[in-house]
């Protein structure tokens, strides 16, 4: 059958953008530095030359303005892909996204769809300091009317964009900044689009469920490898879609393993990890053999120095230690 190809996450994003631009004439890309500079994470390099200024549009440094323009274009029948440099900067566009994009379909009684896709980098790990390193996905996952997805693998980076463009509602895609150079497999040919509904079990195990997403997935998998050496079997669940949460997959796993550890680079207070823990407590309490545990970021602005940045965010050692505690070893 068709062989797989090995490409980087960055190449996967670029291929997905290219595919969307080729398949649907209504698709265009806009954002800060996406054209001449090729994107702040180089995801769109070469696209300006291929598709021209009409479809690859550099914007002024005004998130509220160009995200709002993207929402308007979507309402007007286009399929815009808006790139925001980081989730930190997206806060300037929060009003447009939360008050307009998320509500218009509801307030028009379903008459007006807002099929905009907003991509942004998120997370720490590249020594970019507090104003470029936070993980605020949970703020978007809080809002009805938005679908929030976090491709953690190269195949998801390649396949989620096209599916997101088919949604009548705004979709926010969070790309963790430490993933762009990672390599992974994608199918060699055929349809590459993937669903944006279900969580994925990335590794099967019986002793505890390690629930995570985005940039923390590789740390969770590394921790699971280490724990396997101690005969602790981890089931690693990649949420993939942060809103709506795939509760079914999470609960089915926890009911089987009886223990849950959630790894989330967001701050613990008011986190997505907190929401997941609450749902497990609500729906699977009598199947739990240990309290639900979380490994989250320390409640500080993410520091610049490497050792402090590492100390502030979830790391493999911390996940391993928390897992040992859960299985009481």
């Amino acid at each position: 059958m068709s062989a797989t190809r090995r490409i980087t996450y960055r190449e996967a994003v670029r291929e997905a953008l290219r595919e969307a631009l080729l398949r649907d004439p209504r698709v265009f890309l806009m954002g800060e530095d996406v054209g001449r500079y090729g994107g702040s994470y180089a995801c769109s390099s070469g696209l300006l030359a291929e598709f021209g200024e009409e479809r690859i549009r550099d914007t002024p440094l005004s998130e509220s303005g160009f995200v709002g323009a993207g929402i308007g274009a979507a309402i007007g029948g286009m399929r815009p892909i808006v790139e925001v440099m980081t989730v930190n900067f997206s806060l300037l566009a929060l009003d447009q996204i939360v008050n307009n994009a998320a509500t218009v379909r509801h307030m028009s009684g379903g008459q007006i769809a807002v099929p905009v896709v907003i991509r942004m980098a998120t997370g720490a790990g590249r020594q970019l300091a507090a104003q470029h390193s936070h993980s605020l996905e949970c703020w978007y996952a809080h809002v009805p009317g938005i679908r929030a997805v976090a491709p953690a693998t190269v195949a998801d980076a390649r396949g989620m964009l096209w599916t997101a463009l088919q949604e009548p509602n705004p979709v926010v895609i969070f790309e963790h900044a430490t993933l762009y150079n990672d390599e992974g497999e994608v199918p060699g040919e055929g349809e590459l689009a993937v669903d944006i509904d279900r969580a994925a079990v990335r590794r099967a195990g019986d002793d505890l469920s390690l629930i995570t997403y985005g940039g923390s997935l590789k740390k969770a998998l590394a921790a699971a490898d280490a724990l396997a050496g101690e005969r602790i079997g981890c089931e690693v669940i990649d949420l993939r879609t942060l809103r709506p949460l795939d509760e079914e997959t999470i609960l089915a796993s926890v009911r089987r393993t009886h223990r849950a550890l959630i790894v989330d680079e967001g701050w613990r207070s008011g986190s997505l990890a907190g929401e997941i823990a609450a749902r497990i407590a609500e729906e699977a309490f009598f199947d739990l053999d240990a309290p639900v545990r979380r490994v989250c970021s320390a409640e500080v602005p993410i520091p610049y120095p490497r050792h402090l940045e590492e100390a502030a965010t979830p790391q493999v050692d911390g996940i391993v230690a928390a897992a040992r505690g859960l299985v009481r070893r």
Partner: protein, 397 residues
């Protein structure tokens, strides 16, 4: 030790029907257990080879206890649980648990005993399983970290087996303790009355077409092959039941789970008193001869005190047939966790209006007792109308 009824807490192992090393197919009877409802054959859900017998004959053990180990067909898959249960007791009885590294300053966890003053942390899962398996949580030993989890409950189950068995009746002294059975009926019926808001809906049906057909059919058969009227009656009830999902199933923990299959409990009176309603499986799909054979077999085994575990655990609905020379109608009481019961009175000749004229017809009053938490009288009324329609063309059953 399976729970052969909602109220069963323990059972006595009276006979092993398989020996270690013997091959077991799914559904094979493996052992005979005596309960308040008589001697029950325990069937295996698992094909494989009987590896080890854990409970001696004569021992009385709580529900949930491991009776024996079966090696599954896929050896690797079976090895894991066996390993886990084998290791657990060793951990539980270790005299002094080794201190955890870096925990020297922590006070030693006090050995056991849940008193009113001191609460030992126990996980929700451990508490639930202990309850289900009849293990008193106060007797559980906490682990090295001072908490009680799944591992400690498993250890207690394994350790309990030989010690916890009280003096049992000698093996072979099988048979029924009628007083115990009466207590079991009392518990089930008291629960039914306490928890289930019953409603009753009745119809009186003309059985002339059924009895005429039965007479014609039986006339061509030798006596051993003849059908009782109960057989087509059960079949009609089962077929009507198959399209009444709100009457067929189980209600447990505030949730009703309808059953796709119709496993019909048939109330059978026992010699010397007592009553039991074991299941005939998939009655709606059996032909009448098979159903007759199964009914014969069941009655024989009930009276011999020899039932199978699936027959006790599986009924999704029950039929109580009073039979000949009894009474005209019965308001039956539901057997929990089922949600309906069908009561049939004796066949009585009654004046009947047919085509505007008065005739005498053999009739039967059938009453449905339904659980109002799950269904309404309308469901039962529609069900009875279907039974009536089916009995008009018995040859189609």
């Amino acid at each position: 030790m399976p729970a052969l009824g909602a109220d069963m807490e323990a059972g006595t192992l009276v006979e092993w029907l398989k020996r270690p090393g013997e091959r077991i197919a799914r559904g094979d009877a493996v052992a005979v257990v005596e309960t308040q409802k008589g001697a029950i054959e325990i069937e295996s859900f698992q094909p494989g080879v009987l590896r080890e017998i854990r409970v001696e004959t004569g021992a009385r053990v709580p529900v949930g206890e491991v009776l024996a180990l079966i090696d599954g067909e896929a050896g690797a898959a079976a090895a894991a649980p066996v390993h886990a249960t084998a290791e657990a007791p060793a951990r539980a009885i270790a005299a002094a648990p080794p201190p955890r590294p870096g925990a020297a300053a922590e006070p030693e966890p006090e050995p056991v005993v849940l008193s009113g003053q001191r609460r030992v942390p126990i996980s929700p899962l451990a508490r639930r399983l202990a309850e289900e398996r009849g293990i008193d949580v106060a007797t559980l030993q906490p682990g090295a970290d001072g908490t009680i989890g799944l591992a400690e409950v498993e250890a207690a189950r394994a350790a309990l087996a030989p010690a916890g068995a009280p003096a049992a009746r000698a093996a072979g002294e099988r048979g029924l303790d009628l007083a115990a059975m009466r207590r079991a009926i009392a518990a089930a019926m008291a629960r039914s009355h306490r928890e289930i808001p019953h409603y009753f809906v009745s119809s009186t049906l003309d059985l002339a077409p059924l009895l005429a057909w039965l007479e014609r059919t039986n006339a061509t058969r030798a006596p051993p092959g003849r059908l009782l009227y109960l057989v087509p009656l059960l079949k009609a009830v089962a077929r009507a039941m198959a399209s009444a999902p709100e009457l067929n199933g189980h209600y447990e923990a505030d949730v009703f789970t309808p059953s796709a299959a119709v496993h019909m409990g048939v109330a059978i009176a026992m010699r010397g008193g007592g009553l039991i309603a074991p299941a005939i499986h998939d009655v709606d799909r059996l032909d009448l001869d098979t159903l007759m054979a199964k009914l014969d077999d069941l009655v024989l085994r009930v009276r011999g005190g020899r039932l199978r575990s699936s027959e006790l655990a599986d009924p999704t609905v029950t039929v109580s047939n009073l039979g000949e020379h009894t009474a005209d109608a019965i308001l039956p009481v539901i057997y929990p966790p089922q949600v309906a019961i069908v009561g049939c009175g004796q066949i009585v000749p009654r004046p009947w209006v047919s085509d505007g004229g008065l005739v005498v017809r053999p009739t039967m009053t059938i009453t449905v007792g339904g659980d109002h938490r799950v269904s309404d009288g309308r469901s039962a009324a529609k069900f009875l109308a279907r039974v009536e329609a089916l009995l008009k063309t018995p040859e189609a059953l």
